[in-house]
Amino acid sequence: MTSKTELESVVIRLAGDSGDGMQLMGSQFVATTAKLGNDFATFPDYPAEIRAPVGTTFGVSAYQVNLGSVSITTAGDEPHVLVAFNPAALKVNLAIIAKGATILLNSDAFSSRNLTKAGYTEDPRTSGELDGYNVVEADIGRLTLEAVKELGLSKSDGGRCKNLWALGLLLWMFDRDIKMVSEWVSNKFAKKEVIRDANLAALQAGHIYGEASEISAYVTPIAVKAATFPPGEYRSIMGAEALALGLAAAAEKADRKMMFCGYPITPASALLHRLSQLGELGVGTFQAEDEIAAVCSAIGAAFGGAIGVTASSGPGIALKAEAIGLAVNTELPLIIVNAQRGGPSTGLPTKTEQSDLYQAVYGRNGDTPIPVVATRSPGDCFYVAIEAVRIALRHMTPVIILTDGYLQNAAEPWEIPDVDAIEPIATNDAPARDEDVERQQQAFTRNPDTGGRPWISPGTLDLMHRVGGIEKDIVTGHISYDGENHSAMSDLRANKVKSVADFIPLQELEMGETKGRLLVIGWGSTYGPIYQAVKAVRETGADVSYVHLTYIQPFCKNLGDIINGFDQVMVPEMNMGQLNTLLKDRFSIDPISVTQVTGQPFRISNLKKKITAALKAMQPGEAA
């Protein structure tokens, strides 16, 4: 055994062509990591849309993982280890890795043709631009072919095992054995023996290479100890999967069928894919002809007594806006998931952003308020999904869940919840027929606390009624064009959404005191970097607290009180300042808006700077 360096946390980035299998390599590395008890967070960074020609910079696919023996909440600012499968991968990633990082290069891909394709006029390995990095080269392609040559594969099939070879080496570098991955390979290719054996051979060869070759002269294996997790049963989870499972759990807790109606779009499709595997949980999925049909069929399903769910990203959500208004007017429960991506228009479909908050809160005709909740981490998606269904069923209203491209694909270790401990979801069941009241009116006799009306579905004996998008009489539920009634119904709709605040928990502080100088307010997937940044600044003794919002419309009842306890509020978000607008409106405050729209998560270091600067700029006399 060679000597080891022990680190608290380390950020690794794998980069190569879309066809090089980076995502698979990354996720398998993480599976081992998880099992060993590290905390981690991942960030798959796909190329834009189409599989690009081999070797081009725009075709580079990357997978970043941050693993640690300490608590990890982001995929890390600056990778300490970069694996670059070709010159393009090096070119694209060099700017973002840490100075002094270890770079593992697949040297046989550094042909002059590939260098040109990547836009290099000189070979970076000799041009001096890698000075200061710990560069390690290996002929991964050739070595892989050698490892599998006895199995009689074609050159191209053999070449496809490159990522397993590299994974073997990576596992060695991090002082892990290849057992888990071997098992996975054996399972996955159980029916394709040659492929299985080739992958196993490559994996082993890569691992052995670390031990045997002179590489150990340059690289010392890095050990990252297990993190301390609270006791429990754990698994790794991605955001999209957690959302799917959370929705299915909610259906179980409400004892209703769930009907998911969607239309594929990046990065929301993952939800459709995952839910279409959950049939045994009474979940149906329907791929509609477009987003409008998707939301409308989900509304039809809700009318039919199932929890209707639809999902899309910004452009698709835009198409659903009219129908969402219909769900509001008909007072039907509907979950709308928005997996946000870079806008406007088609924008940056594979990049992450939080720029659909305005759309969620305000993006409809008329005064059409809807509860909006947001997810902060992969595992959190599970709980937010349940909460959204709970709200929808309690108040009989559509609910929007905001998540984003980053969360959809990111993974983290996650304690499997005790499902029995989750409170059942109450539904506004059909009442008994009351002969003194018109049937139509029975369907619109609302719970005064929640505004929720009974959920009466076709098939229910003797409670037939009609719903629609035209304004209804507040008492009878029949069409009404009366002005005062419309006014009363507008209030009812507003109050229904406001009443959500009576049922959700109070806003908690993530960190810090309830009064002080600076309060940072975040929402959504920026949780990880903001958490780390605030923590770091607090460790310098600074007076900064942190609140992260799950409930965006309505806000938790005490949010205003919390805000009032601080001299200044800072709102970091991956858009041009949308939550900021909301806070100004609701609380008449003037926060510092910190925005970033680069399609990438915040860097902890940048946020730290912003917070520190804000604290500095505040007049000392201004203390609370």
Binding site: G232, G300, F303, D462
Partner: protein, 331 residues
């Protein structure tokens, strides 16, 4: 409540709000009557409509009803039917609602063959928005949005339906109680998407546009009522018949007495003839009414359930599913 229901049981308390003389009234009467006749129950019947004069329909039928938004009724109905496959789901739509803004949803409901009874009220005009021309309006229609006459080629609903892969297409006239009642029953009996085009007179904005074949004096010579297995004859004296001319690959009108052997016998499963019947130009040909095309096939809601792992039932539980992956314990 065990007495058989009558059309009155299918009538709501709501005052009907169409223009006096509108063809929609006649259709409403036949529909509620038919519901009673086929033994439908009110709780297992749902009417889903879009927006338009015709789409007010659900308010007047004592069953479950959903007056959705413009053009989207087939999509809402699909979700409802998938969730609740035992329901009888009727879709009410207009030529604007179903063929203009809602064309895509109608297309896909027909293609998928969702078991919906789709009533297309074709008045060749946008009634509710006060008379603009619609996708079925004839070339030259003068309307507020086409003061010089429209130039768009109209869509032929039957051709559209068959192009979409529909397995059932029938036609009727608003005021023809018997004919309309029959196709409603046939549509109800058909499992899968059935499309019924109803020529409906908008007395305000497009009055008498179907007069060529609905005016009393014209009826016999300008209408042909198709009955599966019966020869295609029409005319005041039943003296005309339809035949197929192989040379021109077209339908011709022949003397029913002289050329009785050439006369086509209606076979509702024959798509070629169905398409020709749909396309017959007026006034040279009579308008074909009744069930024009009908080919049984498994409806989408059925194949969907057959193919669903558990038939939409909860057979597993989330606890287990959460653990269908690598898990580890921390103590």
């Amino acid at each position: 409540m065990n007495a058989p229901l009558t059309h009155k049981d299918f009538t709501t308390s709501q005052e009907v709000r169409w223009c006096p003389g509108c063809g929609d009234y006649a259709i409403l009467r036949v529909v509620t009557k038919t519901l009673a006749e086929i033994g439908a129950t009110r709780e297992n019947t749902a009417f889903v409509s879009g927006i338009g004069c015709s789409s007010r329909f659900p308010y007047y039928v004592e069953s479950y009803g959903f007056h959705t938004i413009h053009g989207r009724a087939p999509a809402v109905a699909t979700g409802l039917k998938l969730t609740n496959p035992e329901l009888d789901v009727w879709v009410v739509t207009g030529d604007g609602d179903g063929l203009s803004i809602g064309g895509n949803h109608l297309l896909h409901a027909l293609r998928r063959n969702v078991d919906l009874n789709i009533l297309l009220f074709n008045n060749e005009i946008y009634g509710l928005t006060k008379g603009q021309y619609s996708p079925t309006s004839r070339v030259g229609t003068r309307s507020p949005s086409s003061p010089g006459g429209s130039t768009d080629m109209p869509l032929v609903p039957g051709q559209f339906a068959i192009g979409a892969g529909s397995k059932f297409y029938a036609r009727a006239i608003d005021t023809d109680k018997v004919g309309l009642g029959e196709v409603l029953k046939a549509s109800h009996a058909h499992k899968g998407a059935s499309m019924i085009e109803i020529y409906q007179n908008c007395i305000v904005y497009n009055d008498n546009v179907f007069g060529g074949f609905t005016d009393k004096e014209n009826v016999k010579d300008s209408q042909i009522k198709l009955v599966h297995g019966e020869p295609m004859v029409f005319g005041a004296e039943q003296n005309k018949g339809l035949a197929f001319d192989i040379k021109t690959m077209a339908i011709t009108v022949v003397d029913a007495n002289k050329h009785a052997d050439e006369i086509l016998v209606h076979d509702e499963t024959n798509k070629v003839i169905a398409q020709l019947l749909i396309g017959m130009p007026r006034p040279q040909f009579p308008v074909a009414l009744g069930v024009i095309f009908h080919q049984p096939a498994d409806p989408f809601d059925k194949t969907y359930y057959n193919n669903h792992v558990s038939g939409m039932k909860r057979t597993g539980n989330i606890k287990d599913v959460l653990r269908k992956t690598t898990t580890w314990k921390v103590d």
